[in-house]
């Protein structure tokens, strides 16, 4: 009896960029075999980092935390590489990881905030003003600065929406995913997701209007 074990031809490193996500993941799963497979993972990170960073930034409303969570998302992808199945778009899988990480971070921070608030109440200490972004205004024109501030306000308000609505809005408008793709990420139905986006956008408009009136 003769056994044939098939070795997939490994592409040269310089050709990794030309491979699809699933092919790269195939190589990533062979990471124990050598540094070449880490190179495949690096290609995936570079290819999708903007997607994950944008998602995390809009969901969390904070650039620094987004950078941290995006890194964690890729680490999770690496650690779970053997569980990956190419049964949908790779980026849907990655965004689902990113969402879990964001949600986890968000919950953790809410818990910390509650504990801090409780301590302040017990101690009678002053809460103080929350830290503000110290973005360097530089020499940007006034109109650009105003637009940046308005965008920041919309993104801050986004944090007031519930998790699922926020997720749907970010995937739709920040990541510019189709509803089919959003359904893959969230395991939801397209019709439900459309309603969610519609309601979310309406709610966001309402929140911003309240703010301007105040």
């Amino acid at each position: 009896m003769k056994l044939h074990v098939v070795h997939s031809a490994e592409p040269a490193s310089e050709r990794l960029e030309q491979l699809g996500d699933d092919e790269l993941m195939l190589l990533v799963k062979r990471a124990e075999a050598g540094p070449r497979h880490r190179a495949a993972f690096d290609v995936l990170v570079r290819r999708h980092q903007r997607l994950v960073l944008t998602y995390a930034d809009r969901y969390l409303g904070d650039r620094e935390r987004a950078l941290d969570v995006a890194q964690e998302s890729f680490v999770t992808l690496w650690e779970a590489r053997h569980d990956y199945r190419p049964e949908g778009r790779f980026r849907s899988y990655l965004l689902a990881i990113a969402h879990n990480r964001c949600r986890e971070r968000s919950r953790h921070e809410r818990g910390q905030q509650r504990r801090a608030d409780a301590l302040r109440l017990q101690g009678g200490g002053a809460g103080g003003e929350p830290a503000t972004d110290s973005e360097d205004a530089g020499d940007a024109p006034l109109s650009a600065l105003l637009e940046r501030e308005r965008a920041a306000e919309v993104r801050r308000r986004l944090a007031e929406l519930d998790d699922k609505t926020r997720q749907a809005l970010v995937l739709r408008f920040a990541n510019e995913l189709s509803y089919d793709e959003i359904a893959e990420v969230t395991a939801g139905r397209v019709g439900t997701l459309k309603s969610r986006v519609s309601r979310g956008l309406a709610r966001l408009r309402q929140l911003l209007a309240e703010e301007y009136r105040a």
């Binding site: 009896m1 074990v5 960073l53 950078l67 053997h82 809005l169």
Partner: protein, 305 residues
């Protein structure tokens, strides 16, 4: 035309209106400053959520991610499956995919087999202590009520490699199919897995662990270690299969069985089946072996659907 609902305006901003609806709304917007204002406002909100062109232009996460991975791998902590996407973790269909690893497969090189008909197993209650049953463990016996118990513990997925990726194997496969496997194990005691295919003529093809050309001594123990949860086996294996019926056996065992145990069990089964059918065809029978669950799949070798 009266002013449309806000949801219609949102659908317009979201690009979800049909061509006719869009035309109709555009006509309305030309004469309605209020709706135009709402649409513009919604458009600005969605745009402000949108990606900024150079937002992450200077960021490269590769170095930082590599550093975290290295740090994490130096820690003894287990894997954090809670952070995997739940949407895929719980799906029925999961695709194991291969990866060569001939060295590991060839080194493991051996086979093992025990045979039991598909889904005719049963778990003995814990602490059973009768002959043939592992005390404190479970035994596999015949009986149609056993199927659900076995299914709760183990499952096997079979896929074949194609140019377009991996496709599930249902009941047919081509003769030169490269097969890959995935399993689910929900019983901690099950620690070894073996997969073998047997043709109608009794030829055996060992898929996991891979069979060496020179079979080891019958006293050698073999098996591929398995873990709890869903996992894939790392090899993509091809045998030159003859056309016709093929029965694939997956043995989930608590210990690595010896080649002799498996071979004897399989021989006995085939011999019994031949005697029963009188047509020389292998047919699965019941083999009681403590601590082993065997799942089988009937396949037809030929042109895959």
């Amino acid at each position: 035309m009266s002013c449309p609902e806000t949801t219609t305006l949102i659908d317009h901003v979201d690009g979800e209106l049909t061509e006719n609806q869009r035309r109709e709304l555009s006509f309305h917007l030309e004469g309605c400053a209020v709706c135009t204002s709402v649409v513009e406002e919604l458009g600005r909100i969605s745009a402000r959520l949108g990606p900024d062109e150079d937002e992450w232009a200077e960021v490269d996460l590769v170095g930082a991610v590599s550093q975290r991975i290295e740090q994490r791998e130096q820690q003894p902590a287990g894997r954090d499956t809670a952070k995997l996407p739940a949407t895929r973790r719980g799906r029925r269909r999961w695709l194991p995919w291969t990866v060569g690893g001939l060295a590991a497969a060839a080194a493991a090189a051996l086979l093992v087999v025990l045979v039991l008909p598909a889904l005719r197993q049963r778990a003995a209650p814990p602490h059973t202590s009768r002959p043939g049953v592992d005390p404190g463990g479970f035994a596999i016996r015949g009986g149609k009520d056993d199927a659900s118990a076995a299914r709760k513990w183990v499952k096997l997925w079979i896929y074949r490699s194609t140019k377009r990726g991996y496709r599930p194997v249902r009941d047919r496969l081509p003769a030169d199919a490269r097969l890959v496997f995935g399993y689910r194990n929900a019983k901690a005691e099950l620690r070894q897995l073996m997969i073998v295919a047997v043709t109608a003529q009794g030829q055996r093809y060992w898929y996991y662990p891979a069979m060496k050309a020179n079979a080891p001594a019958s006293s050698s123990r073999t098996g591929v270690p398995i873990r709890l949860g869903k996992h894939e086996l790392p090899d993509e294996t091809r045998h030159p299969l003859p056309s016709g019926e093929l029965r694939l056996y997956a043995l989930f065992a608590r210990r690595a069985l010896t080649v002799g145990e498996v071979g004897t069990a399989l021989n006995r089964l085939q011999k019994g089946a031949r005697a029963a059918t009188g047509r020389g065809k292998a047919k699965a029978g019941v083999l009681e072996l403590p601590g082993v669950i065997v799942l089988t799949r009937e396949l037809q070798v030929g042109t895959a659907r």
